[in-house]
Amino acid sequence: MEFSELIKTATVEKALLWRPGLDTPVTGTLCVTSHHLLLSSCPRGDLELWLLIRNVDAVEKRCRSSPRLSPRVCPLAVSGVPLTLSCRMSPLLSPWAAPGSVLPLPRLQNLGWYQPPRTGASLRDTRVSGSSGTITLRCKDLKVLQLEIPGMEQCLNIASSIEALSSVDSVMMMYPFFYRPPSLRLEQGWHQFPLETFFQRLCSRSSQWRLSTVNRDFGACPSYPEAVIVPAAVGDDTVTKAARFRQGGRFPVLSYFHPKNGTALLRSSQPLTGHNRRRCPEDEKILGTILDEGERGFIIDTRSAQAAKQARMGGGGTEPKSAYPQWRRLHRALERGRPLQESFSRLVEACSEPCVSMDRWLTRLDGSRWLSHVKAALSTACLAAQCLDREDCKVLVHGAEGTDTTLLVTALAQLILDPCCRSLQGFLGLLEREWIQAGHPFQLRCARSASSHARSKQEAPVFLLFLDCVWQLSRQFPFSLEFGEELLLTLFDNAYASAYGTFLCNNEKERRLCKVKESTHSLWAWLNQPEEKQKYLNPLYSHNPLVIWPSVEPQSIQLWQGLFLRWIRPSQHLDEAWREIRRLVEGNNNSTQESTGKRLSQPLPDSTAGTEDGR
């Protein structure tokens, strides 16, 4: 396949770009390339848009002979907000610039913010005459762009080109395989968090576990990495047999070791008991050897008892008490799959209509049920953490496939329990271990975002739900996480559309087949560059060795405005206040280093633009 086949019209002159909150639309030359949608403003050329086409979630087009932006596609009236541009160029947007000849390409980003309608200014003055069409691009990062393109045919061509390019399925055709930033080397960052390091920390404290290569060449479980941690007392042959008793071969492995009392968190998929209540002695042995005599453990099933029972019809099920006498099962129903995706869509829809009445807003917020899912996920993670830390019990977490809500719970529990996971490096390590290597199917789950019409059954914002829960923790413990909201937003953006290979494919096996680690750059390498890292750090952070127990009362769960209203809410005053906090705190830490203080008192985009230009 050639990209050129998909591009029907590559360039359009005098296209109009508009975004809610923008004062006046930007006119310029629009260009469709294999991976980007570009717009360069005319005649001055001082503004540019670089949009990764993979970021486009839905394309809506409407053509008319007398051009007019309809009120529906243009729900927010144009306001008198001055055009604010953050002239930041991120390397992921400059693929063609040769090293050394980097031109400062400003990028239209976060252009203004929503303001209540004040003037009824129309687009009449800037509008092109003759027939034209409007394309609304709903992006996966929840921003909405509008393009007005002269000529009906051109408009349709552009729209179908974007549609075709944004739904290219082949992994190897995706942008990360073409993206070569000058500042990074390909192999950088891919082996930053080896499981061996994690294991070494553990085995100095306990001899109950061993690092197993039973999954070499992904023989036992295709969605596990090659190295896993299993109980030391069971051999690889037992593990191989137990794997056959678990869905997708996901046998129980160690997810986290709690140094305080030597308890452990394990995860797996559901056992394949089926309707005839099959048993597997090897699986029973694995779980049996973990517990001493008389010791009790907990199995947290992320489905309701009812759903777990029903799963028997499909060959799945749960661990029966008789076969696992020392384990107690707790059911905590967490939403997943389609209902979760719909919840996400409903919330985004509710947020996109800011002019509704108070009652309507609350109804819609409530109706989306998103905050209920946040609460449920957090409380289940707290339950797991409580069992480990307070009850001194070992815990096994699984749902059905063991790749979604299971990981949500185990990753969150670790963040709550383990201070190491709350540092920037520790958190990236946690993501690598508990999400990427653990086989969360990112490609399937994040193929489409909230506004896509064409939806397959596989999409679900489980990872976003995790990020939201982390954000809730960061609100309740603002000094305990070394990273800030900016990192969570970047992770969200990159999980759905990225220039880096980190979130590509569904598991390590696929990544090996696609040569992801050889042919793409790692997001971690990018984030770890000193000037980049600076942006994601939380200035208020100070190491907190305690377990952080969040409040899960509805009064304590908040809507993550920074994500869901990122492109809608006015954030100028909040940003300024945050900058002031940064200045105060960092001024305090670096009171001797005058230069640092000066740099930080400047608006961030400028300083980053400066450093990137210099490279």
């Binding site: 209540p116 609350l362 339950l383 603002p478 409040s551 005053h573 009171s591």
Partner: protein, 580 residues
Amino acid sequence: MEHIRTTKVEQVKLLDRFSTSNKSLTGTLYLTATHLLFIDSSQRETWILHHHIAAVEKLPLTTSGCPLVIQCKNFRIVHFVVPRERDCHDIYNSLLQLSRTAKYEELYAFSYNPKQNESEQVKGWQLIDLAEEYRRMGVPNDYWQLSDANRDYKICETYPRELYVPRTASKPIIVGSSKFRSKGRFPVLSYYHKNKEAAICRCSQPLSGFSARCLEDEHMLQAISKANPSNRHMYVMDTRPKLNAMANRAAGKGYENEDNYSNIRFQFVGIENIHVMRSSLQKLLEVSGTRGLSVNDFLSGLENSGWLRHIKAVLDAAVFLAKVLIEKDWISFGHKFSDRCCQLDGDPKEISPVFTQFLESVWNLTEQFPQAFEYNEAFLLQIHEHVHSCQFGNFLGNCQKEREELKLKEKTYSLWPFLLAEQKKYQNPLYNPDFSPDLTLLEPNTVSFNFKFWRNMYHQFDRSMHPRQSVFNLIMNTSEQNKQLEEDIKELEAKIKQRNGQSDVVLEKEQEQTAHPAPVALKSPPCFQKEQPPMPMNDAVRTIEGSNTADNRYSELVSEFSKAEPAVVSLEYGVARMTC
């Protein structure tokens, strides 16, 4: 005193209202003339002022004792279990009596003695001077003057003595107009915007009925209109929903007839009356007090209460007022905190959450404009606390006249000096006096999602719900430290200067012997010992983090496992209802 039969009860349990495991503290309950005091076994004290008590309820007897639920006006709810029913009954009766003071003279403010001498007391009351306030606004001037019409409260009992009215409004017009207005509250100046020469006036509804008119009142509005020379039209904002205004016509009241008043534009802003507000708040409290609340219950309860809708309506109206009428600066409305509250004081006897709403609106503004207000959330909460505490004289009585009759200024103390003394606690460390110089007024965004549930107000005593680390405290301490360091720098610089001066004149000879005397001195200045390690306050701030899992209701595991305590009481929380 005669109400108190039992002063001390031992072995009383204080239940945590959000803990499912029936966690409780055991301690001793003391009843004093002004407070109910609970001291638990670890010597922590819980003070409840009698005037704060909104409702006391005795619940049916249980195996472990007699439960007593006390709901406070500052949204604290305490749940005691008293071992003997007799004691419980005594306390219940005492509290009933003590919390319902019939006479002003029995209020705490009249017995409260903060050990101020007389001149301090007088000064405290003089801290805020209305005339000074009006002078700041530029009144009196060519258009507005001080009227002595109400000097003896003859025209309107609920207005203060000093009133500002248009110069062209003669006394007969004032008197005539006041007779046409409900309770005599004729239009008077509330706020004057110097730069725009525009004014906000306030008055009560006209007694127009269906057809009545009053020439003096029409003259009065005409005079006000002329006193705003830069505005062609005058807006009359009726804060009621139009339907309410129409309904009032039948009772001989109503609203101005546009035909009779020239150059007037009408605007109904639909803020509901105090009865709707009261029940709205009550619904809100019922929802937020429910144990084991789901997100759904909470959000639909929040919606059904309509509370946030009312807050939005209030702010919407204020924005309209600010924009259309005079583009007035909301900053001054807020940041000169002590000035405004005097006029806008709520009143404790008339039960309606209007003042709470005002505070909540201000809080919403501070959330949107974190740098625009000099004070912080704690200040708003503290004011709310004292509006109900009756500890200071400021909020007692219903009007100036009543306050004078009560001789509040001689007998009670003013709250403001106490707040000012603790100023540091209430300052916003992010406050920027030059906040957005191009913005002379705040333009709050009244889009629905900007209105949030004020957890720190309605759950201020439910500590398990609060963020476990406070950014505000950290910032406050940090900026405090920065200030200290800057002062140290200044001090050091001054010392260096002094040294240099000395060495220039006197120590020239010494300098020849010791090569660099000044730098040597710099290496170990005495002040460096004062320097604290970076951010030592972290530990102090992090007081309740890592708190007990049992506070958070993740599961019933605790009771399942350890069977720690037999169920103390088997009460449904819903039984306790607000009865005020």
